[in-house]
């Protein structure tokens, strides 16, 4: 029983690794960033558990800034992922596009990576402006 589970786990691990190896490099960079942010959050939580949460504002803003960064990066990753077909330009922009160039109506296109990154930067800006307010 235990051996079969171990084997399964190994097989799973292998297939996960091979599947992950296929992901594009830019997504891998984002993943690294997410892992870094989450581990920073964990370090802070562990520190809080040992030392205590006395300046609660700094603990709160520290942990939430890490989690927030991770969440936003995950959002960015979802949006720039080519395999994700959920993000289509909205109707109006398709129409405008169509009028200009006359391509067929069902030419829906993905959210451009530039747009996704601009949103990501904006959201991060707001997040860290808020975090700054917790200083002191």
């Amino acid at each position: 029983m235990a051996r079969s589970t171990g084997k399964d786990a190994q097989a799973l691990f292998h297939s996960l690794r091979s599947a992950y190896a296929a992901t594009p490099t830019n997504l891998k960079i984002i993943d690294l960033y997410v892992v870094f942010a989450v581990s920073t959050a964990f370090i802070q939580v562990a520190y809080m558990a040992f030392v205590g949460s006395f300046p609660f504002n700094s603990f709160l803003s520290g942990v939430l800034s890490c989690i927030g960064t991770a969440v936003l990066a995950v959002c960015l990753r979802i949006q720039v992922n080519k395999e994700n077909k959920e993000f289509k330009l909205k109707l109006e922009s398709i129409y405008r596009h169509k009028v200009l160039s006359g391509i067929s109506a069902d030419a829906e296109r993905d959210l451009p990576a530039e747009r996704a990154f601009a949103d990501f930067v904006l959201c991060n800006l707001v997040l860290h402006l808020v975090i700054i307010n917790f200083l002191g």
């Binding site: 109707l91 109506a105 069902d106 990501f120 707001v126 307010n133």
Partner: protein, 779 residues
Amino acid sequence: MAAAETFHGKTLRNAFGNVFSFFILILIGVLAFSIRLFSVIKYESVIHEFDPYFNYRVTQFLTKSGIYDFWNWFDDRTWYPLGRVIGGTVYPGLTLTAGTIWWFLNSLNVPLSVETVCVFTAPIFSAFASWATYLLTKEVKGTGAGLTAAALLAMVPSYISRSVAGSYDNEAVAIFALIFTFYLYIKTLNTGSLFYATLNAIAYFYMVCSWGGYTFIINLIPMHVLLCIVTGRYSSRLYIAYAPLVVLGTLLAALVPVVGFNAVMTSEHFASFLVFIIIHVVALVYYIKGVLSAKMFKVAVTLILSLGLIVCFAVMAVLIALVASSPTKGWSGRSLSLLDPTYASKYIPIIASVSEHQPPTWPSYFMDINVLAFLVPAGIIACFAPLSDASSFVVLYIVTSVYFSGVMVRLMLVLAPAACILSGIALSEAFEVFTRSIKFQLPGASVKPQVDAGETSSGSAIPENDVSKTDKTEDTLKERPARKNRKKDKEPVAVEKPSIKSKIEKRLLVLPLEASILAIFLLVLLGAFYVVHCVWAAAEAYSAPSIVLTSHSHDGLHVFDDFREAYAWLSHNTEVDDKVASWWDYGYQTTAMANRTVIVDNNTWNNTHIATVGTAMSSPEKAAWEIFNSLDVKYVLVVFGGLVGYPSDDINKFLWMVRIGGGVFPHIKEPDYLRDGQYRIDSQATPTMLNCLMYKLSYYRFVETDGKGFDRVRRTEIGKKYFKLTHFEEVFTTHHWMVRIYKLKPPKNRIRGKTKKSKSKSSGISPKRSGAGKKNPWH
């Protein structure tokens, strides 16, 4: 070629429809604003009621002293001798909004007074709220439904009751913020754009600034997310709509001083964190599922499940331990009274004593949302065909708000937008069905669909009304498939073929011509009833400022301006630092209008202090004098409606004073004031009742008015007619006796020798009093 032509026709029609709906929206905004002006026209441009006076006073302070002084404001003119930290205990959204408007207008050299800005803030924001409703409903069901819902919301009586001109209260801006936050959430959910998610968090911040009702948002959205996950509707758009909102929203909420760290410490917010964890687990599962093959995924599930369950239990245990360690299980009293409707009446009389915290009666539903109550079920059905993420949100919204409105009459306000949205959907769907069936049966129209399209592109041949109608139907037809994210596209290159096919398909669903004409007529009639009712409610029922009262009688209109008379008297005839005691209802008004220090006010943060005043009011004269004297009180203010029949006076509120006082000081017992469980003030009343301070201050010299002492509110002759006050003296009574102000007599000099004996003979209590006078530090 033909395709391009029809396409151009469609864009032209689209543009025309957009312009049209833009003008409709402007008109709706004007309607929302102007229907709320009845109170200004019928009375005058004044701030209404109780809480708005406090907000007005805070706004005045803000405009005078600036934002930094506002945050640090410690108010020593209220809750004497404790004072109150206003900057840290007030929801600043409304004040900051009005202050900003005032500042902006003044910088444009428009010299409006602060009061004018405050009076008109609510109507302006109700126009914004109806536009936000349009946006929200448009996201759910298309433009037609959006316009209908906006028009309904512009004049729904429930919302009017809280946002007439002069009703300068948190709800005035909070409803706009609520709807707008929901709109941005739905928008993010539909588009999956991080930009809207950011805006959503900021709108949520504005809501947290404005009203304690923000907990409704932070619980409703997680509920919807959970619902989506459970029903298998998880998508990465859902993740983008929810996860950034929780992180950013929590941080932003913690910035508002009145919320502070409660945003992460109280149970009201825990649901969002729990769902935040769940959505991450689900997101991870979906990701792995996408990466792995089906067989490997199964293996992974069995492995992860055993591991994940342990982690889940650990997290749950930590959460439960956290919650259980706080005394009220982390819930504040008001939230608990929402979950358990009997909680307030059992434990917190001060919450139960406010009439707007009582459960509503059935007629109040009809009064407040009128025909919408009957349209809502139809709207719910329309939302289920077809069910999308957005429409399921609306359904969830109405279900929860119906429950909350059933608990507290005040939360009817949260129900109103939901009812408007669903009724708007129902009405527009009904109109769409009926107009479509008429259109297909009219001679000529059914001949060729292409002709129809060509004609519209020329535009002039068809009357405007018709264009807008076809436009609406077209719009909804177009937008729905896109919204549902259906993979099959209904509008490929060849437009004619599928459209004909779909039209034939639809012809099978056509209703008889006569029936649909009749149905449209009935629907228009229903709408007309609604409009008539709303205008009536706005003009008659909800526009009274309650600071100025009017009554119609056979000899014309009477105006009772007693409150302002009394407050003006106080501000002109008393010292600046004199303390005025009254029941807490009149605290805000006294500080704002008379500018005198009060003992308690409508911000009921200190129950003991209120109980002290309640005890004083329900004690005999001497004990009351001692309590008031120990609080430095110079004047006592009571509101008395017995002469003119004003029902919400202090005698009618008196039992609450007894209850609240008795809750802290057990020597005050409610049964002492009741004769066989009945509250009465006539000759059958108990001696405790007839000797308490409230009775005496209310009915002092009352018998002189008509010789009998007939109380027109209680419809009875009073029990004790001739009595003298020993410790208080009457200093002012307004024109209609509605407000009576008494001054505390200074303690008498101690008298020795013979005179003392004769004094003690004349009244039994005087020796005791001289003893009390000795203890008294004030003398």
